[in-house]
């Protein structure tokens, strides 16, 4: 890591956002226990590097499709923790006015086309957005986040084929965290390196250490360059691990002994912190200050969510159609 290659803005951004994602998840979990948050949480603790660094390689005009484990992606793409927390709390001040919850957060201004409760649901959407960019000759890409479990859905195949065929500016970003719910990756697919699948669609598949923010950033940047140059999609497989249950409350009966501990030793957030310190570009005080600012931001987010009023019941019937037809209930 050196100054020449990585601007301080970038490094600070990566560190701050990874910290934010980690702490956001821990706060959300605490607030769920505390009763502020009514729904499920699928936290991405342990996967901060993929979410943040992949998004860091994108422009604001680029778009992403996210998943059930989407908080990191959304924060990475610029999502405001205030509106996210309010959404998790089911308030109308939230991103989706309390109608969507964790699984459905979207912000079209930030290029977040939506988290998704359907595994594999985002693939065709990302391909379609990329098609629009290509047709309009815009220098934008679409990135689809997905898991090692999701790659086995038919939508992956259909979308990868379409994207490869039309050389769409899309990046298929697989967070291979070794499990889909309670089923290990090796019991979901006959191959371990999922990047191999790209060849069947005529585009490159690359494997990257998903706990190394810089490696993720570089791979994504390269895929984006390819896409913008008209060379089509890339499949990036980032090897990573989720530290908490599939959802909060998951008894986690399925883990291999010692596996969690081994991965925790490679926790991406402290690893990146240590690297920044080692590089000499940052000192402890600077990082602590960033960390404090994250905490302050989250204090504010939680306070915002807690203070926000619950939606009025009539809101339940709003925002379903753009074109209403007077006098008709439908």
């Amino acid at each position: 890591m050196d100054k020449q290659t990585y601007s301080p803005e970038l490094l600070t951004h990566l560190f701050r956002q990874m910290t934010l994602v980690r702490e956001f998840e821990l706060r959300a979990i605490a607030e769920r226990r505390g009763g502020l948050i009514p729904g499920f949480i699928h936290s991405c603790v342990g996967q901060e590097a993929t979410a943040v660094a992949a998004c860091a390689a994108l422009s604001q005009q680029d778009v992403i499709t996210s998943t059930h484990r989407g908080h990191g992606h959304l924060l990475g793409k610029g999502g405001d923790p205030k509106y996210m927390m309010a959404e998790l709390a089911g308030r109308s001040a939230g991103y989706c006015l309390g109608r969507g919850g964790s699984l459905h957060i979207a912000d079209f201004n930030l290029g977040i086309l939506g988290a998704n409760g359907i595994v594999g649901g985002g693939f065709p959407i990302a391909a379609g957005a990329a098609l629009a960019f290509q047709m309009r000759k815009e220098a934008r890409v679409a990135l689809a986040f997905f898991g090692d479990g999701a790659i086995n859905e038919g939508t992956f195949h259909e979308s990868a084929n379409l994207a490869g065929l039309w050389r769409l500016p899309v990046i298929f970003f697989c967070e291979n965290n070794l499990y889909g719910e309670g089923t290990p990756q090796h019991k979901q697919a006959p191959i371990t390196d999922l990047a191999r699948r790209a060849d069947g669609y005529g585009f490159p598949g690359v494997i990257v250490d998903g706990n190394d923010a810089i490696a993720v950033y570089e791979a994504t940047q390269e895929a984006r360059r390819r896409a913008l140059a008209g060379n089509g999609p890339t499949l990036i497989e980032a090897k990573t691990y989720r530290f908490r249950g599939h959802y909060e409350g998951d008894p986690q009966v399925y883990r291999e002994p010692g596996e969690l501990e081994a991965w925790q030793a490679r926790d991406p957030v402290p690893a990146f912190r240590a690297r920044l310190l080692a590089s000499g570009l940052y000192d402890e005080a600077q990082l602590a200050e960033i960390e404090a600012s994250v905490q302050a931001q989250l204090d504010e987010a939680v306070a915002f969510a807690a203070a926000a009023p619950a939606p009025a019941v009539e809101e339940a019937l709003q925002g379903i159609y753009a074109d209403t037809h007077e006098g008709l209930v439908f």
Partner: protein, 326 residues
């Protein structure tokens, strides 16, 4: 007004909208070089080029979902699914993605996506190429459903669908493609959703007829007029939204009602219409709400069997006589 076939009317609607708005394009299996297996998009490739008239792989989920993705970033796609029977191959992208995107995002997503799809039995096409699947999607809030029965309605409703900002399932009946009718030339001719058309006025019985059954209802009405029975024929034109008012008013007048569609009887579109009437028009009813539709078996191949399973003019005539003579 000049006469067009239903097929030409659909093509004209698409072409006009594509000329009008560069963000509109058409994609689907064999829509370009082949011109659509039903010939509906013939000539469009030549006019608009392969960027905007796109042949796709055989991948219904990707076709529908890519349409959705393009719509979410500002395009106004028309996607074609060759047979309504194949909708469930991409069903999730309809029910969980396109239909819900706006609501789930708190009203922020715009989904100007039109899914054109054929419906109905073209004759000996058997169980997987003959279905009328309109009602499979009626339970899902967030998607509108159009079922035009005439060339003019096809044009006007399709243009409304394309210009709108909501996802629409647009069902074109295969056996109507060759039918002709006068169609307005005005490039801004559109028809509102949720407005039924009183196709024929009458006083004794209301027939609420959907898609191809409008023709059959009119034929029945002609026949019955000879027996002194005055039949009113109403075409809802869109199933979601449904113009309850017009239906209820007609029943208030005639106090007898038949609902006719080509879809299977059980839980077809007629179930919802009958339920609406049983709830909101029951005091006007003098007799049962009769539904006419395909019998509850998959569509058989053999013409003898298929004719027996599909609803026809004679079924409508018999039902009207039953209602009136009770």
């Amino acid at each position: 007004m000049r006469e067009l076939t239903y097929s030409e009317a659909v093509r004209e609607a698409m072409s006009e909208e594509m000329r009008r708005d560069p963000s509109t394009f058409l994609m689907g299996e064999d829509v370009a070089v082949f011109g659509g297996v039903w010939g509906v998009s013939e000539g469009m490739l030549a006019e608009f080029g392969e960027e905007r008239v796109r042949d796709t792989p055989i991948s219904e989920a990707a076709i529908i979902g890519a349409g959705l993705g393009a719509a979410l970033v500002g395009m106004r796609p028309i996607v074609e699914i060759m047979f309504g029977d194949f909708l469930m191959c991409g069903g999730d992208q309809i029910v969980n993605q396109a239909a819900k995107a706006r609501f789930m995002s708190g009203g922020k997503a715009h989904v100007p996506l039109t899914i054109r799809v054929t419906t109905g039995a073209p004759g000996s096409a058997a169980a997987q190429h003959s279905q009328s699947p309109e009602s499979w999607f009626m339970n899902v809030p967030g998607i509108k459903i159009a079922v035009p029965a005439t060339p003019a309605d096809a044009k006007g409703l399709l243009k409304t669908a394309v210009r709108g900002a909501d996802p629409v399932l647009f069902f074109e009946h295969k056996m109507l493609y060759g039918e002709t009718g006068s169609v307005p030339e005005d490039a801004d001719f559109t028809l509102p959703f949720g407005q039924a058309s009183v196709v024929r006025e009458g006083s004794d019985v209301t027939i609420i007829a959907i898609s191809i059954m409008v023709r059959k209802a009119l034929a029945a009405a002609d026949l019955l007029a000879g027996e002194g029975i005055s039949v009113e024929v109403i075409d809802p034109r869109t199933l979601v939204p449904l113009d309850k008012e017009t239906l209820i008013q007609s029943v208030a007048k005639t106090s007898r009602v038949i609902i006719a569609h080509e879809a299977h009887l059980r839980s077809g579109p007629g179930a919802e219409i009958a339920a609406v009437l049983a709830e909101e028009a029951v005091e006007y009813l003098d007799g049962p709400v009769i539904r006419i539709g395909a019998k509850n078996v998959p569509l058989p191949y053999s013409p003898v069997l298929e004719n027996f399973v599909l609803p026809g003019t004679e079924d409508i005539v018999a039902a009207v006589r039953l209602l009136v003579r009770r």
